[in-house]
Amino acid sequence: MPKLLELQSIGKTFPGVVALDDVSIDLLVGEVHVLIGENGAGKSTLMKILSGAYQNDSGSLSIEGIEVLKNDPKKAEQLGIRMIYQELNLIPELSVMENIFLGHELKLKGNIFLNKRLMYEKAKEILGRLNIPIDPKTQVKHLTIAARQMVEIAKALSSKAKILVFDEPTSSLTSSEIKDLFAIITSLKATDVGMFYISHRLEELFMIGDRVTVLRDGKKITTKNIKDITIDELIEKIAGREITEIYPHKKLAAGEVLLDINGLSSEKFKNITMDLKSGEIVGLSGLVGAGRSEMARAVFGIDNYKSGSVTICGEKLVKRNPKVAGQKGLSYLPEDRKEQGLALPLNVRENIVIAGIDQLFPNHIINKQKETQVATSYVEELNIATPTTEKLTRFLSGGNQQKVVIAKWLLTKAKVFIFDEPTRGIDVAAKSGIYSLMDQLAKEGAAILMISSDLPEIIGMSDRVYVMSNGILAGEVRGTEITQEKILELAFSHVKGELITDETA
């Protein structure tokens, strides 16, 4: 296969940090080259140099044998380099075709008016080539996350693309959606593009990758053919040490029922009955849109429900709001920690005390010293990597942000924890830290409900698994029954395979 791209001895230094040190990597036509490493290993910096967002201090970049001097975003675009970002870059109010052609719309000859017919035909052709069954006129806001991701790929391919960079493309997709995405990537292998693929989900790499490069602390550790490496070797190379067990949770004898949900119904879910016992980690699986988060939000009192009841530690919730739920010992760690879990402009200390402030200062007079003391103790206990408690949470890594959210609820003396996608976008080492913490909480008698779209995580961590499908509790699996096949079967039991959602949000 011909060489498409060559990055040679790339070096990049930011004030105080060597982000990349003598990294060489190449990309062949028709291959998927996987980049892997912990957060801060230099993957994103390398890709930003490729896309022209950053300038490299040393080394060279050449495409098809021709050296690219002074790369910038515009030049990279002309060279056919396309990034498929983790955060989706689509305009919800515009149609699929308007998004695909955003910035390079097709116009009627010689004037400013759009050639909507040609745009429609071309968009349809691109989508058809990728086997994406979406009408180009559909507004993006009506699409599921998975469908949006596909449109994003179509957008990248609508103008002459040579190199595609996928940055964590599967972080918000369910297994079946990942399968569709991989089918698209596989079909692209047969064309003349080359692809970089960044992901924290190791199993995926073996399904889709041809070669893998491991980065650690800005240095290249190795490049290997996927066939020649095992998952354990890979983990060891990523972490720089041996991690024997990612999922530490060992089953304990479950104690009393701490959370009892009985017949809970709303527009998004129907008649959900489940319970959580002390010392248990219970997985809640299902496809995106199955109503898992909506159910959790209702339990915590954020959204209202029509009928049913929620009982926490034997006490039935009468008033439905998060404050009351929190006082009774329930905590909710939302899916989107940046939007809902943390106040990003505030520092670590302020975020940790925010929910437990009434308990900490019963007479409503705040003592900063005491706050610092409490925050410091949690930073130490949970191993939060931050120089001081005064650091803004915005600057912490994903894993450490998640730990701050956990600390916040520990302070309120929560007994029941609902974790919604606790490890999304977090690297392997930090994931393992979160898992140990969850295990620790369970050992201390807490009950944990873990909502996750990551099946290995569900299977590895859960004592029991509830599966929701299209708003209905499709079943519960225990012990040796907890297998990928069984969970998927339940997850699909009430679905009608659609890429269009009914939501107008």
């Binding site: 870059n89 109010e93 308007e98 955003l102 910035g103």
Partner: protein, 349 residues
Amino acid sequence: MKQHKKPFRLSNLPNSLYVLFVVFIAASLAVPKFLTPGNLSNLILQSSILLLLSFGMSLVLMTGCIDLSVGGILSMTGVVMATMLRMNVPAIWAIAIGLLTGVLFGIVNGLLITKLRLPSFITTFATMGIAQSIANVVSEKRTVYWEANSSNSLIDTLGRDFIRIEFGQTAKEVLTISYLVLITAVVITVVMLLFNKTTLKSRVFAIGENEEIARLAGIKTHLWQIGIYAASGLLAAMASLLVLIRTNSLQPTTGEGLEFQAVVAAVLGGNTLKGGKGSLTGTILGALALYSVRSALSLAGIDTSVVMIVIGAVLILGMWLNETIQKYEERIVGILRSIVLGRNHGRNA
């Protein structure tokens, strides 16, 4: 390939449609003089002025910004034009310079917001005051008149009626459409054409949704934003021209408070302060709804100082209607269907 037709939804219609509907029916029933050819003519003429302002406002809102200076620009450009007419400058030049002033002022707004990265609310709040003060200073706070002569006969011509249909003898029985309404119709048609048929819509929506996405797509976001503010300034100057022709004079305070009405009309039409979406059709209906309220109140002899209370209430009603319709859409449709079909097709049947 599967075809996905956009489903018909009540909440997809601009909420100004419901407000206009409710207001129009209520006014027609409660105020006998409301539904007369004469009053409707007047209503359309008055809405024209607001329409121009709120069209500019809608475009700015779609980009996620706001332009509070439109009222100020209206006063200022009006005084500029009227003063030149008073100095016997030919009408065509007075108008051209007036419109240019509006454009330039809009460009200044745009430059301050994009290049100095100032928040649009505060920036245009400040320039609103500046523009209004310029109008007051130049006019010495007095109404500007001019003498009709051959150099400004254009003003007189434009003030005439384009269509006049007499249903009876009295003024209220005469339907008139003046050239001013015609001008407005042409302008809004052009803007809507540009919005729907060129890249304008995707540009303003992209900038309003996320400027970074727009920038990464190779869109010159600053240029577009400045252009939108310039358009808003131009439309405000055009509105000013309409006022000037209609009253054959110009009060320097004429634009005060109009930015509020422009925001109301735009927001009723489904344009949010967050940007990234919106509708120009909605804005037209919003402006009509707003002036229906005003017209009904003044015909009913209610003091003008009450008008703002009612307009505020209409805005809240409009927002509430939209929320409610979105929330209970299925149920409302179900009830309507069961009435039509004579059986219960409701959600929980």
